[in-house]
């Protein structure tokens, strides 16, 4: 199973982020087992939004099927105000 460890690579330059931008439960989030791109998307979105806090049973998303994960992502997007930039192509 791929892990999240490779997702955020150290970089040089830029500016320091304020502490409020970091999750206090980042270590837990890093341990979540990821089995698909959808899982990765969910966990990355959580990593970027410290105020949105959830836990995963047994640190695993495997118990959920794809429609359930999509519903979870839709609820997260809705809560965070994330919307598509453009209308989908016809």
């Amino acid at each position: 199973m791929p892990k999240l460890n490779d997702d955020f690579c150290p970089v040089t330059g830029g500016v320091d982020l304020p502490k409020s931008r970091f999750r206090d439960d980042m270590d837990q989030l890093r341990d979540v087992t990821i089995g698909s791109d959808l899982d990765r998307h969910i966990v990355q979105l959580l990593a970027l939004h410290p105020k949105l806090r959830v836990r995963f049973r047994k640190q695993d998303l495997a118990a959920l099927d794809t429609p359930t994960k999509k519903a979870l992502l839709a609820d997260m997007n809705d809560l965070l105000g994330v919307r598509p930039l453009r209308k989908p192509l016809r």
Binding site: L52, F56, D60, L64, D65, A71, D75, L79, L80
Partner: protein, 331 residues
């Protein structure tokens, strides 16, 4: 966000629709959809929240999930994605326990439990009545009573859940028993149904009382076990008295039973606001001549009059509006 105390007070005001009204009051968007591996979740961020409930289960289970997720929101404890109903009930995690306490109070406020459980022992009919009145499962009602054991005057209480013939789990803050003991109690309670099974322990001066609610559709059963002082453990509950009297009155007389139920149904609106003795006088004046033969003989016997009085007490504000102080020990 509203404080927990205010939220609970709000839910009490809107009982039995406390959780639904609270979600509406807080502006929480509640969505119902099919899900797998999960009963629901609550996501919150700053002052916004969304709750999603798995609608593939029965209504009472969905209500429990809603109350549980509201508990996460009120206590500011992150939801656990992938949690199922049995995970929620079985969890020993301190945060989940606190969330469950809030959820239980939202669904069945303590004042309601005390009003419904107005005498001891707690029998299956009381669990069913509390569940029906609160729109929750009998299992949730049993757990609520077990968690309020001390407040209700029960020495100890436990809920054991069976799937098929095996003990799936048991939940109690005061009483643990071996699986074999639970299975023996279940078998004894099944035999004693609709009455509760009683076992007096002379050396300890208490009585074990076990009531069983079976759900043949799901092949599951809920066993409610309580420990009571002998005085309270031995007394027959009103439901047991009623069942016994019905057995005597209606034995093989279905049409008589229906006719009498019809009389009670028609008389009920008149009885509201009357004292029990006023209602009794009015009932006999109105219905005594309606019956003849064996039904009349049985109905006008001492047991028949006792039965009518028992039924009228249910509506005349005598019984359910207040607790019978002598029916259970003071907590």
């Amino acid at each position: 966000m509203i404080s927990v105390d205010r939220a609970l007070a709000f839910a009490r005001q809107h009982y039995p629709a406390g959780p639904e009204k609270l979600a509406e009051h807080l502006g929480v968007r509640v969505t119902f959809s099919p899900m797998s591996g999960c009963d629901g979740w609550c996501l919150f961020c700053e002052d916004r929240a969304v709750i999603r409930i798995n609608n593939q289960f029965v209504k009472s289970r969905q209500r429990f999930t809603l109350a549980h997720e509201l508990g996460h929101l009120l206590l500011d404890i992150p939801t656990v994605i992938g949690e199922s109903f049995s995970d929620i009930l079985r969890s020993n995690d301190d945060e989940e326990r606190r969330v469950n306490e809030v959820a239980a109070e939202l669904l069945i406020p303590q004042n309601i439990v005390k009003a419904v459980v107005s005498e001891l022992p707690v029998v299956a009919a009381v669990l069913k009545r509390l569940a029906k009145q609160s729109h929750v499962s009998e299992l949730a009602a049993a757990l609520r009573i077990a968690n309020l054991a001390a407040e209700l005057g029960l020495e100890k209480a436990s809920v054991v859940f069976f799937e098929g013939d095996t003990v799936s789990w048991q939940r109690s803050q005061t009483l643990r028993m071996a699986d074999d003991t639970a299975i023996n109690l279940r078998d004894a309670a099944r035999e004693a149904a609709p009455n509760a099974f009683r076992h007096i322990r002379k050396h300890k001066g208490d009585v074990i009382v076990a009531s069983l609610i079976e759900n043949p559709f799901f092949g599951s059963a809920t066993l409610f076990v309580q420990l009571l002082p002998v005085k309270y453990g031995q007394q027959k509950s009103r439901d047991e008295q009623r069942a016994e009297l019905e057995q005597y009155l209606f034995d093989g007389q279905v049409s008589f039973q229906r006719q009498l139920q019809g009389c009670f149904g028609a008389f009920k609106p008149r009885a509201v606001g009357m004292s029990v003795s006023e209602a009794e006088d009015a009932f006999w004046e109105r219905y005594e001549q309606r019956f003849s033969g064996i039904p009349k003989k049985r109905l006008t016997s001492q047991k028949g009059r006792e039965y009518v009085r028992l039924r009228l007490e249910e509506w005349c504000g005598h019984f359910h509006a207040e607790t019978h102080d002598d029916a259970r020990p003071s907590s």
